[in-house]
Amino acid sequence: MTALYTDSCRPEDGCPIIQVNNLTVGYGDVPLLEDVSFEIPQGQIVAVLGRSGCGKTTLFKSLVGLLEPSQGEVILAGHKVRAREESLDAELMSNIGVLFQSGALFSSMTVAENVAFPLRQYTSLSTAAIEALIVLKLAEVGLSGYERYMPSDLSGGMQKRAALARAMALDPPILFLDEPSAGLDPVSSAELDETIRRINTHLGSTIVLITHELATIFAVAHRALMIDKSERKIIGDGPPWELAESSDERIREFFTRGSTIAKRNP
């Protein structure tokens, strides 16, 4: 793994690890997000929330360099993120862990080989050390004993957890997680929340979560950004418990409706 910050961006000088400046992004001529700006300091867990189709995953794609914004920029630790077709900036990406909504495990490789992939790509560790790391990372996500399984032999939730183990194989300082607890049972979801919190506490990793699971938001996020579909921008920014009591009807509705559904079950 290489140096994360550039010389011009030092955290001790207050340079945020993630900067989004005037971002306008969408598909074709229709922007899903317009003129969005925010900053995230190192070590913060930020949940990006909003209703389906509001542009959460589009923002996620822009942050990791999979979608070129039509205007504005994304800066990670001083490096401007440039979306390219072939491959993204390897130096920068070795410091970033990404969990996709579907898990996106390589179907031709075992779970262990999936986790080993970034380790082989970016470190010169011996096989013995890599094997030990794989075993530990899988134990951290509760998949001990599944090393030799193929992704297709795992359930959706297990695939998601294996993908998280791969995303954190290099102990990246920045983690982007797209819907980490979607499709998981409440126990697995709570365990995953615990893992996310642990990564943040022990590694000091900055974590951006794309989610609409209220339980996850309250359990792990220091801060929440609420995107509104009609305004195409962030309409709420603050700790989740403060947003839940926001004066903005749209934000309050998101939290109250969600919690009502959660409580309805006897």
């Binding site: 179907s107 193929m150 642990r198």
Partner: protein, 390 residues
Amino acid sequence: MTPLNDLNHLLEPEAPLTFSLTPQGGTFDEIHVKLEGAVSSANVDEFLTEIKTELAKEPLKNVRLDVSDLNLLDGSGPAALLRIKALCAAEDNNLTLLGAHPELIELLDAVDLEILDSGILHPRPDPNLLVQIGDAVQTLRKMASDIIVFIGAIILGFIGVIKQPSTARWESIPKLIERNGVDAAPLVCALGFLMGAVLAFQAAIQLRKFGANIFVADLVSLSVTLEMGPLMTAIIVSGRSGAAFASQIGAMHVKQEIDALRVMGIDPVRYLVLPRIIAVGFSTPCLTLFANCLGIIGGCLVAMISLDLTPTVFFNQVHRVLEVTDVIKGLIKSFVFGLEIAVIGCHRGFQVRGGAESVGSATTSAVVTCIFVLTITDALFAVVYHYYRF
């Protein structure tokens, strides 16, 4: 107590990462080692080697590693401690980590040490020859029963459609004919033309020696209509349509679209396979007819250039030797080829299990199986046409 990990090294990547290992003495069956400094992926292998060397010096029962001043900068530090734990367990030694973060100890305890020694990144050794033969026979038996069941499902599907024509997806057939027939026509025509030209050219070299130039028309017309036209067309169709069916249905299987059809009470065979069989069964003879015409035209062109035959002479000879039954024989063969391609392509698609790799294997396997089955069918047709003339 040191933190489990610390990312500060990322701010100063040039700073050298060091550690030191100091034996603290102990009782006769105990070693007490104090570890200091920082461990990361940059020096973890060196760290492991030094500890292993220290532990190998004497037969011990109790190993006490003081890690209170050891900074584990990334996941490689805990991984190294796990390796040491496995090493101690293998030699029946007790390992105590002093000053370790409770979560680190909890994590290390959660791991089954036997997994580490099983070589998780190495493929499992192949089973012995007898087991492999047994597996192959089982696979063959399963394949045979699968294809029989699939053909049975297709026949039942056709019976169902005959009984209730409205249950078929007729509206998709024109689109499928366009994709699998019309779109393939330029390629089939080009290849048919070249095939006829090459046949005529090779024949011309030999026939000129005997002054039997005119027989080039016999050779080209009969071989193109009876053999080359149907076979070449079928190979192209299997490469285009057979592969496409396997990958389309395979991808649908992966995305559970087939399951969605089933739970909606729709028979996937009737919905997906029958229209494809009808479309390819219709398109392939049509394409063969194009290939035959273009093949004869290609042969005529070469005959004009290299044998000085006029088109009138060439086509008069074709008219004399080529009978309608020859063309029909070729088209019947072509129709059967089309059915086989559609059935094999769809069947391979239904066999997909797992992800992207399985779809790729199904596609390859569809083309290979198609070509193999086409060749066998062609040989059978040759025998049948020889003994049962019509």
